[in-house]
Amino acid sequence: MFTTGSKLLFGASALSLVTALVYAWSTEGALSSAGTLGLLSLFVIFAFLGGVNYANRDCNVSSMDEAAVDTAAAAQRPGASSVWPAVVALGIAGLVVGAVSKPAVFKVAVVVLLAGLVEWMVLGWSERAGGDAAFNADTRRRMLHPLEFPVLGALALGAIVYAFSRLMLRLDKDQGRIAFGVVAALVLAGAFLFAGKRKPSKRAVLGISTVAAIALLGAGVASALQGQRSIDEHPTTRTDTEVCLQVGADEEIDADATQSVSATSNLVANIYLKADGSLVAHVSGYPDEARAQLTVPRRAQVNLLFHNESDEAQRLTARTGEGEDESLVCTAAVEEGDQAFLSFQAVRGGVLLVPGLVGGEIELLVP
């Protein structure tokens, strides 16, 4: 069942494996040592070559087969021109360049070299796989398409994702609106054009797709080179004493970081800092009542929403415990008219306060 050639190669493969195991064992199980890895690599390489040889049956044909004079693999003319030698050359050149310049270039070159070698090897083998050129081509396709398509697809997807993400990171809010408005309009226009035709020409579709892909990639690369727009850090819940007892705002205020999108139904209370400087709580269970007291169970998660209705930026701080046990947790400073979310657990009672605000405290009861 095994062909002569494949027997040799499989044998060599098995031998490598055994040697690898013996070597690994004799060097006390150092699986990662260079020797073991090398021998294991030999095992894989021999096994692969053996598989290839087995698959094409050593390129043998029957000696009684007269037609084989013309159709045998050996009688076939070599295939047409191939791009892979050039790719391999490029890879080697890249190795050299990368070795003296950047490691990244070196790594890319290794990948290019490997890909080129594999493609070349399988191509070369498949051209001798049988006596029929169509069959040979088919053989190559069957062997390599399952590798090529996923890899190329992943590369294409990666490129698109990368370009798109760079673009998004580059454009600020307004530019983003304009850019995507234009893109949407183009898509719509294109769709109209195609909708009008019964059968759009393949070439047109291909052309437009190519242009779009190049545009996306180009824009992505361009914006990657320009670097991303400045993105604000959004301080949210803080626990450091200096910040939580600080009056008003000293750092950049984040108008958007309310974290209140989902925090509508699960709140223990809404805390309002009124324009007149008073701090009141609208506690769940007391829908219409402004209270100055809030009871929360010990060690249960408490979610509050702080609404700043005063005319300057303020933060809400929960101070619980006393002395050594004192702990502070606060929102970021919230601009006038905005809101922020505060989530904490309390072990001892304390107060909710707005730093710098005199007289406006909400008693926090922890029974």
């Binding site: 598989g51 049956r57 043998n60 009684m64 069959f135 399952p146 979310f341």
Partner: protein
């Protein structure tokens, strides 16, 4: 190139396809939808016994107050796995078994659209089911309930590997269902016989089609939810972590957006089956075929808008509760339409009470009870009293056991002669029916009382001091329910006995034992590998009936008379049989690929290196799959040495 004639094989020799038509290889490597269907059925029945045993243990534990058959931990694992097994490893695959076997036959196709994918679905399901159940022996099964509510399912509150097994197992089983749903949708849409318009399809095929669409859209939701949960458990994500600002109700919404369509995934195939059985044994077409089909599709759509009725007590707020309450009432309407239509199908017919018919009628009765109690849950405030009590357990067991399982049993009795060539024994069948019907009412009927008397679900013990007295004595009704459960078990044993008996003793059944109406009865029993010698031309709904019966003028007026038998119809079809029938070849690779998945899952739980081994197996399977020839060729390229040897012996002129 002058001579190309003795071109070597079109295929690569390394990956020859199996050709065995008998023996175990013919089953393991098969891509025949009929064999896959039978294997689905056998495995599903096996898991039915597993889940049933779990149910009996639960009922034993609850038979008496403060009972000690099972400990708290084991009990929690037991009811979690009972539900998981029954839903994912019994009812769904058993419906898949019927769908696989019958759907191509009912639409006049020779196989499903993607035969190898079909085999893959089955093997993934089998390995996934085994994987989940191995958790019993590897540190304990999942103990969070089949709803696996967060945060109780997090690593903090459920530290054993049970939940990991459950999550990964469901992912694996989910892949199987997803693949099979795509397969069956394509089959129905693309492979119908000439003349088989959508509105001429048998109702079973219709319901299966609706179910596949439900699966296609529901499974991604649970997949995402399970990913979130396993990322939380294994990689420290915080999707449901309250102290990181998350809301645990997110899990409930995700789970029930899947979980409610799942209910219809379970019940609709059964609706389809009894919509085949009732017309056959009433000798009358289904009353309001279009209404039944469209109400099935409506259930499929509206079923997406009612998930939060599982959460009326969860504190969503009154607006959501009211909206989902009304939506839930709405879905009762198409369901009611079906019940009316089935009853009216019998009306004016000529009823033949075979076991299959009895199961179908039993299904209507039991499902009606389950449906009516379902309407009482739709009223949200009433549901706050009923939910999470045995009243709910009663409701959904009437729906699932009384509805889905009874329907599937009707299917067994109806199609057994088609699938195996021998009809199940009718006498044992009646025993089977009455034991199950009575057993179901005695098991789940009392649970209505238990629930309204305040016995909650999922409790390992119920205390003596809360039993009460008189009619509503919890002790009495719990005992009745336990006896009922064993009555059902007896009924199922009779079924198994019947299967054995039939295959040992029974004689070959006639070709058309029920005077049936649809295409699957227009071929041999059991069908040949290629299903139909000639693809039938379809002219009407209930094609076979129209080929057998004609309106004849008699002295009493125009009457329907049987003008030809099924044998004659079949002979006519065989006479115009196709000369070259091309069937997909068996394949080694589906089972290889499927085998890798549980290995990956074990690896994720125990050792990542194992996961890589599993991934390598999956990859190997996928490449083997791609590289194997599209068909097995009898004259495949033989190894040269063998070839050589042989030829030398051959005297050449």
């Amino acid at each position: 190139m002058a001579l190309t004639s003795p071109a070597p094989s079109r295929s690569l020799g390394a990956f020859r396809r199996p050709v065995e038509a008998t023996g175990w290889k013919s089953w393991v490597f098969t891509v025949d939808h009929k064999r896959i269907g039978i294997m689905y059925g056998a495995v599903a029945l096996f898991f039915f016994l597993v889940g049933g045993t779990e149910a009996l243990l639960i009922r034993l534990q609850l038979a008496a107050p403060d009972n000690t058959v099972l400990g708290a931990g084991l009990y929690n694992e037991m009811f979690t796995m009972h539900a998981t097994t029954m839903v994912f490893l019994f009812v769904m695959p058993l419906a898949a078994a019927f769908a696989n076997y019958l759907l191509p036959l009912q639409i006049g196709a020779r196989d499903v659209a993607f035969p190898r994918l079909n085999a893959l679905s089955f093997w993934i399901f089998l390995f996934g089911g085994i994987f989940i159940n191995t958790s019993w022996f590897l540190g304990g099964a999942a103990d969070g309930g089949w709803f696996m509510y967060s945060p109780n399912s997090s690593g903090l509150f459920s530290p054993s590997h049970g939940v990991d097994f459950w999550v990964l197992g469901l992912q694996i089983v989910g892949i199987a269902s997803l693949l099979s749903s795509i397969n069956l949708i394509v089959t129905v849409l693309n492979m119908r016989a000439p003349g088989m318009k959508l509105m001429r399809m048998p109702v079973f095929t219709w319901m299966v089609l609706v179910v596949q669409f439900l699966l296609l859209f529901a499974l991604p939701v649970i997949t995402v939810a399970l990913f979130l949960l396993s990322f939380q458990r294994n990689f420290g994500a915080s999707f449901f972590d309250v102290d990181k600002g998350a809301d645990p109700l997110l899990w409930q919404h995700l789970f029930w957006i899947f979980g409610h369509p799942e209910v219809y995934i379970i019940i609709l195939p059964s609706f389809g089956i009894i919509s085949e059985v009732l017309p056959t044994f009433s000798r009358k077409p289904l009353f309001g075929y279009k209404f039944v089909v469209f109400s099935g599709a409506t259930i499929g759509f509206v079923g997406w808008g009612v998930w939060a009725h599982h959460m009326f007590a969860s504190g969503m707020g009154p607006v959501s509760v009211a909206a989902f309450s009304v939506a839930t009432m709405l879905i009762a309407i198409p369901t009611g339409v079906k019940i009316c239509n089935w009853t009216l199908t019998m009306w004016g017919g000529k009823l033949w009470f075979t076991s299959a018919m009895l199961f179908a009628i039993g299904m209507i009765v039991l499902f009606t009870i389950g449906g009516l109690s379902g309407v009482t849950h739709a009223v949200a405030t009433a549901d706050t009293q009923q939910t999470d009590t045995y009243h709910i357990v009663a409701h959904f067991h009437y729906v699932i056991v009384g509805g889905a399982v009874m329907g599937l049993f009707a299917g067994f009795y109806y199609w057994w002669p088609k699938i195996f060539g021998k009809a199940l024994n009718e006498r044992l069948g009646k025993w089977n029916f009455w034991l199950m019907f009575i057993g179901i009412n005695f098991t789940f009927g009392p649970m209505h009382v238990l629930g309204m008397q305040g016995q909650p679900r999922r409790m390992v013990v119920w205390p003596d001091k809360l039993t009460g007295e008189g009619y509503f004595d919890l002790a009495f009704w719990n005992e009745v329910a336990t006896w009922g459960a064993f009555t059902i078990a007896t009924g199922v044993s009779v079924f198994l006995w019947n299967v054995w008996y039939t295959h040992r003793k029974a004689e070959v059944a006639p070709l058309d034992p029920w005077d049936a109406r649809t295409l699957e009865w227009m071929t041999a029993s059991p069908p040949k590998a290629h299903n139909f010698d000639a693809i039938p031309n379809v002219h009407a709904l209930d094609e076979l009936f129209h080929r057998k019966y004609e309106e004849v003028d008699t002295d009493k007026g125009v009457r329907l008379k049987k003008t030809s038998t099924a044998e004659e119809v079949l002979a006519a079809e065989e006479a115009r049989g196709d000369a070259h029938i091309h069937l997909p070849s068996p394949s080694y690779w589906p089972i290889v690929l499927a085998f890798g998945l549980p290995i990956i899952a074990y690896g994720i739980i125990f050792n990542l290196i194992m996961a890589f081994v599993g991934a390598a197996i999956v990859l190997l399977g996928a490449f083997g799959w791609v590289l194997e020839p599209s068909v097995a060729e009898p004259g495949d390229y033989e190894s040269p040495s063998d070839d050589h040897h042989m030829k030398e012996l051959d005297p050449v002129g």
